[in-house]
């Protein structure tokens, strides 16, 4: 392992990162913190994210800058709250985690402030993870998992997943066109890099065939964990960390990374927020590879700063979406296409479900 200087203020983080030493990463953020400490309110996804973010980002940021971070749990889709907050100028949050689709919706409505730095400032960040109003901290991936105790013939692709004769087993799909349409097209042989624009007609033809064989249509991430863990179904698509949670808890299951679609979660600033300066400083802090590496200890999400893998144990890297081995099998989901078509396709998907 490396043997760089250990700053006492960063000790907690370092222990978390598995004893791997950090550089003087805090230094750039220390400048300009001579003024009085500010308290910012950060809306994170709650649940296990709270403590994981606290260890990886909040506490180290507090120690490095003297500012305070109060974290609150936001809704799964915070866009409505975000919109109401900006329009009524009642800033209960200074920073909020957003998905790419939430970012696009909010950006389109002019509800986001710029984050104040660019890819050039953090060159090792995945280029998709940064834009003028957003910086991604973690990558999640839509993949599928199967129960190794029930499914004897191991499926290896979406084509296999959709082939109910050759790969028997009880299946679940997500009750949402997002991801499901892509999965149908991948199953039908559309190459991963030629998915978009999505061929809706073709996708529904494929879905028609599997419709009678889908036992469960899940609606929430926690439900997907439960479905896999309880054995309610034998194979299902889901977000990798949710499926990994079941596996980490002892469920005999395996994740198939092949043809996965990943997306990014990260920070955005509500337009006109009063503490935007400190909030920006905080976002910048979260691009730090060591902090991101520490985050992956707790939750199986991939870091966006690929330098983080220098300090992530090889065993852990295997279950993270952005490890080189997994990343090369996957592509990023195209949020632009969905921003433009989501409403229409959702309507059609709902009609199809009821038919």
């Amino acid at each position: 392992m490396t043997n760089l200087t250990t700053k006492p203020t960063r000790r907690t983080l370092l222990q978390l990162a598995g004893g791997v030493a950090a550089g003087a990463v805090a230094a750039p953020y220390l400048s300009g913190t001579a003024r009085a400490a500010t308290q910012i309110t950060v809306a994170d996804p709650g649940g296990p994210f709270g403590p994981a973010f606290r260890k990886a980002f909040y506490d180290p940021f507090e120690k490095a800058t003297g500012n305070k971070v109060v974290n609150v749990a936001r809704e799964a889709e915070p866009t409505a709250q975000f919109k109401a907050m900006v329009e009524t100028k009642s800033y209960t949050w200074d920073v909020c985690t957003l998905t790419l689709s939430a970012r696009d919706i909010l950006k389109k409505q002019g509800l986001l402030d710029p984050i104040g730095f660019s890819h050039a400032d953090v060159p090792k960040l995945m280029p998709e993870a940064i834009s003028a109003e957003f910086m991604g901290t973690d990558v999640y991936s839509t993949v599928f998992a199967y129960r190794t105790d029930r499914v004897k013939n191991a499926p290896a692709s979406w084509t296999d997943f959709f082939n109910v004769e050759k790969f028997p087993g009880r299946r679940a799909l997500r009750k949402n066109p997002i991801d499901t349409i892509e999965q149908a097209l991948l199953a039908d042989g559309v190459p991963l890099d030629k998915l978009y624009p999505l061929d809706i007609e073709r996708a529904f033809k494929v879905l028609d065939k599997i419709k009678p064989h889908v036992a469960v249509w899940w609606t929430g991430g926690a439900q997907s964990t439960q479905l896999l863990q309880s054995g309610e179904v034998d194979m299902l698509p889901g977000w990798n960390a949710r499926l990994q949670a079941a596996i980490d808890g002892g469920t005999p299951a395996k994740i198939v990374w092949n043809q996965g679609l990943y997306s990014i979660e990260g920070w955005g600033l509500p337009k006109g927020g009063p503490k935007a300066d400190v909030a920006r400083q905080f976002i910048r802090f979260c691009s730090d590879p060591k902090a991101q590496a520490a985050f992956t200890e707790a939750l199986a999400y991939g870091p966006t700063n690929l330098d983080a893998y220098q300090t992530i144990a090889a065993d852990r890297a295997k279950v993270l979406p952005t490890s080189p081995e997994n990343l090369k099998q996957m592509a990023i989901a195209n949020e632009d296409w969905w921003s433009a078509n989501r409403s229409k396709v959702t309507e059609r998907f709902n009609a199809w479900l009821l038919a």
Binding site: T41, G46, P48, F49, E75, A76, A80, L353, L354
Partner: protein
Amino acid sequence: MSAVAARAAPARRSGFRFGPLWLAVPGLLFLAVFFAWPVAQLLGLSVVDPENGGLSTESYRRIAATDVYLRVLGITFRIAGWTALWSLLIGYPLAYWLARLPDMFRGRMLLFVMVPFWTSYLVKTFAWMIVLGRSGIINSLATGSGLIDQPLPLLHNMFGVMVGMVHAMVPLAVMTMLPVMTGIDRRLVQAAQTLGAAPARAFWLVYFKLSLPGVAAAGLLVFISSLGFFIVPAFLGGRQETMLAQLIITQVQELLNWSFAGALAAMMLAAALVSCWIYDRLFGISTIAGGSAQAGAGRIRDLGLAILGVVGDIAGRAAAVTQRLLGKRICGWLLPGFCWLVIGFLVLPTLLVIPLAFTSSQFLEFPPPGYGIGWFRTYFESPLWIQATIRSFMVAFATALAATAIGGFAALALAHSRTRWSGLIFAFFLAPMIVPRIVIAVGLFYLFARIGLVATDLGLIIGHTVLAIPFTLVTIAAVLKTYDQRLDQAAATLGANRVRTLTGVTIPLVKGGLVAAFLFAFITSFDELTIAIFISGGVKTTLPKQMWDDMILQLNPTLAAVSVVVFVVVTVMLLLAERFRSSSSS
């Protein structure tokens, strides 16, 4: 119906300068500011073009362009209708049995009936998944004992939804019917039998008929509350079981198309109002004041009596046959047996939660692989959970007080009034139940943000009171319906003023209804999630909000541990209240 007829006799009283409807004014003002105004603002968005802010009927044209929304509306009504029917069928015998029990014993039995209330519906839903799933308890037992080879499809279909929803709604139905039933004078049934009516005929034509206001009120409450469900169909339903509230939430939260959400909400509201109106025409229950009982209602009443007579005859013959087949002794056990089965059904998920809370596993799995108190430690050591628990209790208590007072006065006003306005006012008071909570929540957030009530306990109390008022009003109104107002008049004749009549005569006599209303309001607030999500701003977290945050990402047995703690605390509270009540009344 006969209660209406009985009350039609006393002449309309004069001498109140402002008329009795004034008692409803505080409630009307409260709902106008904190419900009608914010919701109207949101509904107004349905005719606003999201792009340029001009007027547009685009959202409504979109609904008309496809049949998917009408179909979902149909499904929503079908699920709500079946839920109401099953809740009444299961709840009526239970309420009947409870009403016949001695006071003390009934109080204790009621605790069992209310058990599902004290278990968060989030937790209950997951408990049902564990019971009904493919490798769930029922299927494991059935396949293990060789009864069946293949697991039964009990989950992710209409059956699963019905189990979840009826389970959630039976307590509501029983609690609404019970005060009416305990108010029925059983000697009337005896009198009918003395006059030669067969027992079955006497039951149907006298007892059942007298209990109808309670039955109709319960049916309406269950039906309308069911319209807004979204968690149960999402988790226990299958491909077909999509309810309108789910679509509205998607539009508000994910697609951010509030114009379209407003249009969907308007459609749901209109459909719910129409069904209320039909209900009102058929049963006349929402016209508490009886103002719109017209010639048609008379004919319907005759028809109803004829039907009840036929039902009574059929039931009489069926009872005779059953008694001959099973013998008198077994027949005597049929009703208690059925009721204990229902109580078993009601407490099952909560009983299940207890071992889950003591599990050593990371998951809500049954049977637990090992036992420990680790999850209780997690709960008690977390200031977040403890704060949320305390806040939930306090907010629920304040909400219950406010909603019972407002709803009680409104019910009193409506019971005393005979104007044609009373029907409308009643509908207005019920409206918070019909409008999807997400619509109220977003509307309130907008309002509160401007007056600084976001992330305050007061904001939560106001929001929850809006939701609880319909329950308190209907519960108290149902009791007042069987309440003989001549008692008030007698008090007035004897020189009591209005306040003294209220505190000395009316309130003690309708105490059962007031307690039920208070409990309804308490639990409405205690188990409320949607308003809490928006108003708490993530800062003032309530218990359901905290549970939701936890379960949306990672289901773990902390939820079960919390449920057990809450259950124990509430049971102790209820037992103390029951003891206090019975000692003060004796």
